[in-house]
């Protein structure tokens, strides 16, 4: 069963606009969430994270929002740049497990110039 779901396999936006990537989870034991970015032929790189005690975390152009009641999180990229084009993975960690990341299937973001 897929405990972390990214229902949009792809997303296309114009340069300068906002990109919104969505992620849903089913396991209420998850208490830490991360976003990773992956370019072709490279490993995923950490982007931003959020603890379940928060509802928002911001780092430059990237903001992650967490809605615990809806078991939903989203990554906002503003403004989007062509270099942001990559696959974005949502990942979650269960409370008590400090290492085991559960990943979604990823969303391919394409930012058009």
């Amino acid at each position: 069963d897929q405990q972390v779901k990214q229902n949009s396999p792809s997303l296309s936006v114009q340069e300068g606009r906002i990109s919104i990537l969505n992620c849903d989870y089913t396991n209420s034991m998850f208490d830490y969430f991360l976003w990773y970015k992956k370019y072709p032929a490279e490993g995923p790189t950490f982007l931003i994270s959020i603890s379940s005690i928060k509802d928002k975390n911001e780092d430059g152009r990237f903001t992650v929002f967490l809605n615990k009641s809806a078991k939903h999180l989203s990554l906002h990229i503003v403004p989007s740049q062509p270099g942001d084009s990559a696959v974005y993975f949502c990942a979650a960690i269960r409370g008590g497990s400090n290492y085991k990341l559960t990943f979604g299937k990823g969303t391919l973001l394409t930012v058009n110039p």
């Binding site: 897929q2 972390v4 990214q6 830490y32 990773y36 032929a41 490279e42 490993g43 995923p44 790189t45 950490f46 994270s49 603890s51 993975f89 990942a91 960690i93 400090n98 290492y99 085991k100 990341l101 559960t102 990943f103 979604g104 299937k105 990823g106």
Partner: protein, 115 residues
């Protein structure tokens, strides 16, 4: 400094053969992780090392899969009698201590194709 490296980058093998995949973590990182990504799937956790010990092997899909880590550094993932469903990208990651909130740094992966 150098990141996580993995070798080989690509491996093509015949069904039934054994393969070894290697991971060199970032120097000084005590925690090491193996994941795999099958076609159309997210990354799937396989095994976690803290030093040379593997306290969690729960993600290994069958007893054909094994992993070891020596000297608290290099790790080898071995797949015996490979099957076509083993075809995937195998990713290794490391982190300084394996604590909550710690970033896992990924290598580029080994792309395994079993014919």
């Amino acid at each position: 400094g150098a990141g996580v490296s993995q070798s080989p980058s690509n491996k093509v093998t015949e069904k039934g053969k054994d393969v070894e995949l290697r991971c060199d973590p970032i120097s000084g990182h005590t925690a090491l992780y193996w994941y795999r990504q099958s076609l159309g799937q997210g990354l799937e956790f396989l095994i976690y090392f803290q030093g040379n010990s593997a306290p969690d092997k729960s993600g290994l899909p069958s007893d054909r899969f094994s992993a070891e880590r020596t000297g608290g550094s290099v790790s080898t993932l071995t797949i015996q009698r490979t099957q076509q469903e083993d075809s995937a990208v195998y990713l290794c990651a490391s982190s300084p201590a394996g604590v909550v909130g710690e970033t896992q740094y990924f290598g580029p992966g080994t792309r395994l194709l079993v014919l």
